[in-house]
């Protein structure tokens, strides 16, 4: 295992490389635009490190991959779920709100969880205050909390946080 990247230089390089890939796609691989793109991506990467200093979290490629798979399948389920409710004549919804205490640390992990939950079946992030997340639920009779905890676990893996760390962070 490598140590966490505390060097802004590494973040600068990684962000610059990611931005360059985006530039390449947006210009449809146009080679004549690449020189200009290099300048722009360098500038934006520098600016992003200035405005959003590296948080100390390191994205785990495997965790990210597993998260993407989870996210894609669950968003399909979410879409089908709402469609099914909408198309049934009885309109089986039971809206309500629940408030949960999040186990994830502040910053990007919580933010990613809140945004992800808005696209997951039956949940919509309404308010995030500290570690309290209020969710609007399409059907409060469903095991919402269980789903949220599973999503939380997936998000934790993206940032390389283990469940035990999360458990300890609660106290």
């Amino acid at each position: 295992m490598q140590s966490a990247p505390s060097l802004p230089a590494l973040s600068l390089l990684l962000r610059g490389a990611a931005l360059l890939v985006v530039w390449w796609a947006l210009t449809l691989g146009e080679t004549s635009a690449l020189g200009f793109g290099l300048g722009v991506t360098a500038l934006v990467a520098w600016l992003s490190v200035r405005l959003f200093p590296p948080s100390g979290y390191r994205l785990q490629p495997l965790g990210l991959l597993s998260f993407l798979g989870y996210f894609l399948t669950r968003s399909v389920v979410a879409g089908l779920d709402v469609a099914r409710r909408l198309l049934s004549p009885a309109l089986p919804v039971h809206p309500g709100e629940i408030t949960l205490t999040l186990h994830l640390p502040e910053g990007s992990p919580r933010w990613l969880l809140a945004n992800t939950l808005s696209l997951m079946p039956g949940t919509l992030s309404a308010l995030l205050e500290g570690d309290q997340l209020t969710l609007h639920c399409l059907d409060t009779r469903e095991p919402v909390e269980q789903d949220v905890r599973e999503t939380e676990r997936q998000v934790a893996r993206v940032f390389g946080l283990s469940l035990n760390d999360i458990g300890r962070a609660v106290q």
């Binding site: 879409g79 709402v82 909408l86 945004n115 696209l119 919509l124 609007h136």
Partner: protein, 106 residues
């Protein structure tokens, strides 16, 4: 032979995408409150967009074109999730407040 199979899959995906968009619009009318409507818009429409993007991918002129389309899809997803949260938050914080009077005293 393979070409027609690809086209068949594309057509199926396009039809699915259209169906989901139609259901999303239906949700705007069938659901009675704002928050539930946001559920319909975000989840169903994003699935519709996903199917449309998948259907269009074989038409992309180059690898970069395909990546660009996936990026647009990701941007739309992020935009949708963020918008949903912001509107939900606004409704949640002041549920009974109509913002008309707010805007008026500006």
């Amino acid at each position: 032979m393979i070409d027609s199979a690809v086209i068949a899959v594309q057509v199926v995906l396009l039809v699915l995408g259209c169906l989901f968009f139609a259901v999303g619009t239906l949700g705007l009318f069938r659901f009675s409150d704002t928050l539930t409507r946001i559920h319909a818009l975000t989840k169903v429409d994003n699935l519709g967009l996903g199917f449309i993007v998948l259907a269009l991918l074989p038409l992309a002129p180059s690898l970069a074109g395909g990546v660009k389309m996936v990026l647009i899809w990701a941007a739309a997803l992020a935009a949708s999730a963020t918008s949903a949260h912001l509107i939900a938050r606004a409704v949640h914080v002041r549920p009974e407040h109509s913002a008309v009077e707010e805007a008026a005293d500006d």
